[in-house]
């Protein structure tokens, strides 16, 4: 595994008293900071909260907001809430899958994009909606997908792609 500086995790931990009830909050802060829950930090947390590793692992795999694998630099969230689904969000997802060659829940080989589906973003009025990091795209059509993704620089498999 790559060497990384996990010292900031300690700072996060110490903002909370060592009580079980703060577990989820701590994990969320760690997820936000590191983009995932690194294993060494999970072990650090075991010692800090005195909660068995199996329980931490159970929690970390239960909640969708937490991920044990690093996410890409750009996280593409396609809304597949009910309103967006009715307005063909599935074809947006299909198109991204085709262009980036990844399925929802995974990351491109170069670590650039992660694809996720999310529930209602409250912007049903401009459905279907997708968000890349914090940027909003409304009324997306499959034909706009490529153009939008290219705003984030060249796509990895550009050459091989006819």
């Amino acid at each position: 595994m790559e060497l990384k500086d996990f010292s900031y995790a300690r700072t996060i931990l110490e903002q909370y008293p060592p009580e079980r009830r703060f577990l989820l909050a701590i994990l969320q802060d760690i997820q936000k900071h590191y983009n995932y829950i690194p294993r060494p930090i999970l072990e650090m947390l075991r010692d800090y909260l005195d909660v068995p590793l199996s329980k931490l692992y159970s929690v970390a795999t239960f909640y969708k907001a937490l991920s044990l694998k690093p996410k890409g630099r750009y996280v593409i969230k396609v809304c597949d809430g009910t309103a967006c689904h009715l307005k063909s969000s599935q074809s947006i997802i299909d198109e991204i899958k085709k262009v980036l060659k990844i399925v929802p829940g995974s990351t491109t080989g170069d670590g650039k994009f992660s694809l996720e589906t999310v529930n209602c973003l409250g912007s049903c009025a401009v459905s279907p909606v997708m968000v890349i990091n914090d940027r909003f795209y409304g009324r997306v059509t499959p034909s706009r997908v490529r153009e939008i993704l290219e705003e984030y620089g060249r796509l990895e498999n550009e050459q091989t792609w006819k």
């Binding site: 159970s58 973003l121 409250g122 009025a125 059509t141 034909s143």
Partner: protein
């Protein structure tokens, strides 16, 4: 037009308008006004508010007290607004809302059917105030009810008032709030907790979010009143982590309330102590379920437990706990302020007051609405919602999210209240209302919800985990053209069992989307199973798109919008779709203005 007093410009910064860049409009208005200040004869204040409701036409800007409302405002429109409206008292014609019922543009929101038919109690301040200002809230009568409760009423009197109001929980099942409080108040062990459920897991809904973002103090005030009534000193607000603005506004509101003495020790000199804190949810629909939510607050996996012993007796950390939904809490101050009698005069026999809905899907006016209970679906969808978008045909409306069901056109005059919806096989849920047209496949809708639920079930009990998985497996088969004659019976039987034998409400209500579509749209299932066609043209394996040459005007819009370059032909002449390249996204059909793009079943002989 008024020339006296202050003028306020309310810029909608609800989720819909924000994604339409209303924050830029807000910043631009502020900048321009401070530049133009010397010339204006009235003090003008710009406020970023919560959702105004008519998200479809956002970004929305309202100017008070002139009572002007503008729609679709862009940054480039700001100079004109400042110049014309603010300095010269003229309206900017092109930004006015076109009211279809009168066929012309109107100036005031009150002239629109969208707003006229609504009644705002829970949303009373949303869109009217700056949510970061406790002064705004107080100015509109906020915390008055709390003051009266603490100084004049005993806890028992508060509960009696809530009972008399007939308030039922807005989070799903419609449990009588007063009764819940009464049971908790009776428990003689401490500490007790009150919780606000702001998890809002319904994948097509954003009502609670808009309340928490747009009027956080109404929830806090409700919770303090509730805590006083049941004898609790500590509360939690459980908010979905994705709702960062709701979390921010709520945290800010809590601090302000503490500063002003509405939270903390000895509230308003009454000797009553109460404080709340926010817990961020971890992204799990099941955590909206009361016992799972409590497990989650405790820092555990959000798995429900059997509820033969209720939470009011043994809830959070095994202590008596009252859990209510955001909207339920927001209603409490209004009831205490205006009285149970007044509140219970609104609504129907068994469903009192109003209900907030997020009205979305294939409807003209997507948005956030609040209506008196008992209003019919027709009034909501056609009068407020403006009917179906694109002039298509209404097919069904879904209420209650993944726990609810689809209601067909034949029941369009159904009054919307807890019992009528239950009888129709659906439920009120927390207030998602999704309108569907003839381009919506009901089997796909059922499959959509089950896919969602298969990921969201906690997986603890067999009926829910295995039942949803297998029902979904069957629906997938049906949508892909491999449905078998027995499948519909299997779906119905498994559904019946899930409803009774699952451990928690998630599993118990999970079959509803399937059972209601089976009940009202059986023909559509049969078309998938027997004829291998999808009448709505949604299930890709069962659909072939083609262009009807006699209708095609050769405009080329379809060609332009096809992501797969499957449309062949020259402008001015009828186009054709190359089936081998078609990825069946339906873009062509959605953009064609002449109805020339058609669908037929997979079997070529069928046309």
């Amino acid at each position: 037009m008024s020339k006296h007093g202050n003028r306020t410009i309310l810029v909608c910064c609800g989720p819909g308008c924000l994604s339409n860049h209303s924050m830029d409009v807000y910043e631009e208005l502020k900048a321009r006004i401070s530049q133009a200040k010397i010339k204006a004869e009235v003090k003008t204040e710009v406020k970023a508010t919560g959702c105004h409701g008519l998200c479809e036409k956002g970004p929305l800007v309202r100017i008070e007290p002139d009572d002007i409302f503008y729609t679709g405002v862009k940054v480039s429109d700001v100079p004109e607004i400042v110049e014309k409206t603010l300095l010269n008292h003229q309206v900017v014609e092109k930004l006015l809302y076109h009211e279809p019922s009168v066929g012309r543009k109107v100036i005031s929101p009150k002239q629109t059917r969208f707003y006229k038919k609504q009644m705002k109690l829970a949303l009373r301040n949303v869109g009217e105030i700056d949510p970061s200002s406790i002064e705004d809230y107080i100015h509109r009568g906020g915390y008055k009810a709390l003051g009266r409760v603490l100084s004049e009423l005993s806890p028992d009197e508060v509960i009696t008032e809530i009972e008399k109001s007939g308030l039922r929980g807005r989070g799903g099942a419609g449990f009588p709030t007063g009764w819940k409080w009464r049971q908790c108040a009776r428990m003689q062990y401490y500490p007790k907790y009150v919780i606000c459920n702001g998890d809002e897991g319904d994948p097509g809904a954003f009502m609670d979010r808009c309340i928490m973002e747009g009027d956080p103090h109404s929830v806090i005030e409700g919770m303090v009143i509730g805590a006083y009534a049941v004898g609790s000193h500590e509360g939690f607000i459980y908010i979905r982590d994705e709702y960062f603005l709701a979390i921010r506004n709520m945290s800010h509101a809590i601090e302000q309330a503490r500063d002003k003495g509405f939270l903390g020790k000895n509230i308003l000199g009454s000797n009553f102590d109460f404080d709340v804190q926010i817990v961020r949810g971890g992204g799990a629909f099941v955590c909206g379920e009361s016992t799972a939510l409590m497990a989650s607050i405790e820092g555990k996996v959000g798995e429900p437990r059997a509820k033969y012993i209720r939470s009011v007796e043994r809830g959070l950390w095994g202590k008596p706990t009252v859990l209510n939904n955001v909207e339920t809490w927001a209603n409490v101050p209004v009831i205490m302020d205006r009285g149970a009698e007044w509140f219970s005069s609104i609504g129907t026999e068994n469903s009192k007051g109003t209900k907030v809905f997020s009205l979305v899907g294939k409807v003209q006016n997507t948005g956030l609405i609040e209506v008196p209970m008992g209003m019919t679906l027709r009034e909501i969808i056609f009068d407020i919602g403006g009917g179906i978008a694109g002039g298509r045909k209404f097919k069904a409306v879904q209420t209650g999210g993944p726990s609810g069901g689809c209601i067909p056109e034949s029941l369009i005059d159904l009054p919307v209240d807890f019992d009528s919806l239950n009888n129709a096989g659906s439920m009120m849920g927390s207030g998602g209302m999704i309108v569907m047209d003839d381009r919506t496949c009901m089997v796909d809708v059922a499959r959509f919800y089950l896919t969602f639920l298969s990921e969201e079930s906690c997986g603890k009990c067999v009926p829910c985990r295995e039942g949803i998985r297998r029902m979904l497996e069957i629906l997938n088969e049906i949508c892909e053209g491999r449905g078998q004659p027995d499948d519909l019976d299997t779906l119905a039987e498994l559904g019946e069992m899930l409803k009774e034998a699952s451990l928690c409400g998630l599993g118990k209500s999970a079959p509803n989307p399937v059972l209601t579509t089976l009940r009202y749209f059986k023909d559509e299932y049969l078309a998938h199973v027997n004829e291998k066609t999808c009448p709505a043209g949604v299930c890709k394996n069962l659909t072939v798109y083609y262009i009807d040459e006699s209708q095609c005007k050769g405009c080329g819009l379809c060609q332009k919008n096809c992501p797969s370059h499957a449309v062949e032909g020259q402008r001015g002449q009828p186009f054709a779709i190359d089936e081998t390249k078609c990825i069946k996204c339906g873009s062509c059909m959605d953009v064609c203005r002449f109805g020339a793009v058609r669908i037929r079943g997979r079997d070529k002989s069928w046309k």
